[in-house]
Amino acid sequence: MAPTPLTPKVLLVALAFLFFFLTPAHAKPSYGGSIVLTSTSDPKSFNDITAKETSTREVTSHIFEGLTTMNAVTLQVEPALAERWEVSEDGHTWTFYLRPGVKWNDGEPFTADDVVFTFNDLIYNDDIASSSRDIFTIEDKTFKVEKVDDLTVRFTLPVKFAPFLRAMSQAILPKHKLAKAVAEKKFNFTWGLDTPPSEIVGTGAFKLSSYRPGERFVLVRNPLYWKRSKEGDALPYLDRIVYLIVQNLDTAMLKFLDGEVDYIGLRGMEYPLIKPNERKGNFTVYDAGPDFGSSFVVFNQNTGVNPKTQKPFVDPVKSKWFLDINFRRAVAHAIDKNKMMEILMNGFGYPQDSDMSKSAGVFYNPNVEKYDYDLLKAKKILADAGYIDRNGDGWIEDPEEHTVEFNFSTNSGNNERVQIASIIRHDLQSLGMKVNFLSLEFNTLVTKLNSTFDWDAIVLGLTGGIEPHFGKNVWHSTGGLHMWYPMQKTPATDWEKRIDEIFIQGVQELDENKRKVLYDEFQVIVSQQLPLIYTVLNSDLYAIRNRFGNLKPTSYAGPFHNMEEIYINK
């Protein structure tokens, strides 16, 4: 049986693009109307600084803005609350000129005080636990943020910091609303879900109107919003955004087919269910290309010793296999990416070979080492490296006669990942490895990765982005997420040393082209050394009703990154 050709999908992408260019040409923007979306869980707070996860950002991204923003189509940095900016010769001092006339949605003017407050009093406040702090801390040094005048702010950086402009999309919060809470040391518990919607004040295109726990939250048009369309219309066009909280994806799908919801994100498996209804339901399925993020197998290469028990974290016998590059290469050849895509994604997937997603634009390097699915080749690599079945029991043994047997886990709850892991397990088993598979609760798994280090092999995924430097915690050998051997004092191998260098150089190199050369090299090293053995990525499929105009769905920011520009076709 021949592998299924991917042509229909290519065609589909082409069609989607055609649509994309055809619709806006005819329709004229109009005001009013609402869009109904679903969210898989409740927001956890309305506080963008203390927020810990994405379902919160789903709300706050409509309410708050940063000095800069990322154009999700071109992937370039564009002005937002700052009108323009300058950087000094040495790259250490950045001056931002704020957009005049911007108002908070309660009518107060937006000024440099708010920016300074957000950084100095919130992000850099020792009493406040915020993930933003980590982005704005380089080598344990913070940025100096000063007000020059009401509309000018100066940032002084301790070192050169290439991703600075991208990082400046950090949401700015209103000083006049929050200064009191900070003074009373209550900020950690401010703007929680129990806050009245009118108290949540931002500069964004929409503001919170109501929230009903477990059911829905509603955002309404911010009439004071500063942004104009190209035609000079005051944005946004839509009156309301309604998010229904629907945990079960099947229920969400039924709601979409029923017409109650205007958009649904699909998995490849659901395509055959949704696609035939396109005409009847008056919607279009868009394929925005490969997802950001990653999915990989990682082996424990930790050679450290548990300080409490004085025993190595990993059994030295197993450690020897996991540290053996040939062993990892053989595993890389045992990953049946085509079948994973076909079985789990109905063909809507992409093989992943590098840390950077294909959608990541400039920093994606297509020329890395690739490993085709070939069990014979894998067997040969193993045999050449001395892993063969020496006693005829069906399992392979290493040169010291130890049967190759290890635990293989992933987190329960993510069905697709469990399936990927099961497929890999099956193929490793047919290579003669005795693999015990177990799906664990997410927390348990992370504890093993971070503190107890008692694991052998894991299938996991990480979220990704455009900026390679934001993965430093994974790639730098001191990083806590350097999963195969985290928090090393000195790099254990030469290639890890080289990656460390690349990340240190890369962040200080302001020339994008030179940066690309560095990060390309990093991707090649990873593909050769295989600390993470990549599997497959989903396509981002979006089904959206046709009545909306100005849709520009992208894989980076989803279908509604330009919500303020979206309108209802009349």
Binding site: M1, T4, P8, D250, Y271, D336, K339, S412, I423
Partner: protein
């Protein structure tokens, strides 16, 4: 007396039918390796979601031939729906007592003989295939082993605890009884499903699949014993006043011996009924654990994790056969209930006159 109960039981046609079905299912589970053409982990990914194989008894000319199946080829249509087409030139005759995956009969005698099957690379899917082309029929049979044994083992453990604890509380009465009953009440106050989840987290993460299976059984019984202990205790409270207990005491038997040999046997008929009626609870509990991915782990099959795979509109719409495990859970639970109720009618002195 026993015989009378039995003949009374046999008068209930539903109960007899239920008992027979249960017998068949349990026997099938016992001989799963032999009855199933494949092992539970035998996968052939090109047959992802293959529908049940059609067994042909006539060739193209319409003449009667030994039964055979066609090889199949998967195609995707414009909506990326899977379409299976028979390959007319690939025929695989169905044969009996064929060589296949290795196993041990009842865990003892190693062999490779299976009741039926087709020659490789042909595949026979009596009841269709799952996402990775594993035979659902084979997995159902193997899953029956795990699911049914979870019920039986779980009940065995929780009843041993429940009987003993209930017996002790009822026999001694007073302070002992008070303390034990407070503990029971505490266990009953925990919201069961969430306690199950919390306890599931106690299972050491480096357990292998078999150990996880045993751990799940233990956890399920850990939650189930308290309510039984309460009932047994109530029965023992009145039983301990009876003459035969006094007689046993005057003979100088130890308390534990009196409880186990003289008191608990009198709760037997109640226990038997309760066993029958509580086994379904264990099977269902495993399936809800599986539904959130914390039950029996792949590649091992249980009815719960098989059903969990089927819990989606897409699966139900495009591969309805993978709902079969749900049907089996359903039938089994129903049979246990029918048989349990019939036993109660026969054995419980309150309802039989």
């Amino acid at each position: 007396m026993k015989n009378r109960a039995w003949s009374q039981f046999c008068e209930n046609r539903w109960a007899v039918a239920g008992l027979i079905i249960l017998g068949i299912i349990h026997a099938a589970a016992l001989f799963a390796d032999f009855l199933a053409p494949y092992s539970f982990s035998n996968e052939e990914r090109t047959y992802s979601y293959a529908p049940p194989s059609k067994i042909h008894f006539r060739d193209e000319q319409g003449s009667l031939v030994p039964p055979f199946v066609y090889g199949a080829e998967i195609k995707f249509d414009e909506y990326r729906r899977r379409i299976y087409q028979d390959k007319a030139d690939e025929k695989y005759p169905l044969s009996f007592f064929v060589q296949g995956d290795k196993y041990k009969i009842l865990g003892l005698v190693p062999t490779t003989i299976h009741l039926f099957g087709v020659k490789e690379p042909g595949r026979i899917y009596l009841w269709g295939a799952d996402s990775r082309g594993r035979d659902l029929f084979s997995r159902l049979l193997h899953g029956a082993r795990i699911s049914l044994s979870i019920g039986i083992l779980g009940v065995a453990i929780s009843f041993s605890i429940g009987l003993l604890v209930g017996g002790i509380a009822g026999y001694y009465g007073g302070k002992t009884d008070d303390i034990i009953m407070r503990i029971c009440e505490m266990f009953m106050m925990f919201p069961g499903f969430y306690l199950l989840l919390a306890l599931r987290a106690v299972v050491p993460p480096n357990f292998n699949s078999i150990q996880v299976y045993l751990a799940i059984v233990v956890i399920l019984s850990f939650i189930g014993w308290a309510s039984l202990a309460r009932v047994i205790r109530g029965m023992c409270l009145s039983l301990r006043e009876r003459e035969f207990v006094l007689a046993a005491k005057t003979m100088g038997l130890s308390d534990l011996r009196i409880i186990i040999r003289h008191i608990l046997p009198h709760t037997l008929s109640y226990s038997l009924i309760a066993v029958m009626l509580s086994i379904p609870g264990y099977i269902l509990a495993e399936s809800s654990l599986s539904l959130i991915g914390l039950g029996i782990q792949d590649p091992y099959a249980s009815w719960g994790n098989l059903l969990a795979e089927a819990m989606g509109i897409v699966q139900i719409k495009f591969a309805p056969w993978i709902l079969l495990p749900g049907f089996f859970i359903f039938i089994t639970v129903m049979c246990f209930n029918v048989v349990g109720d019939a036993l109660r009618d026969v054995l419980d002195p309150k309802t039989s006159q």
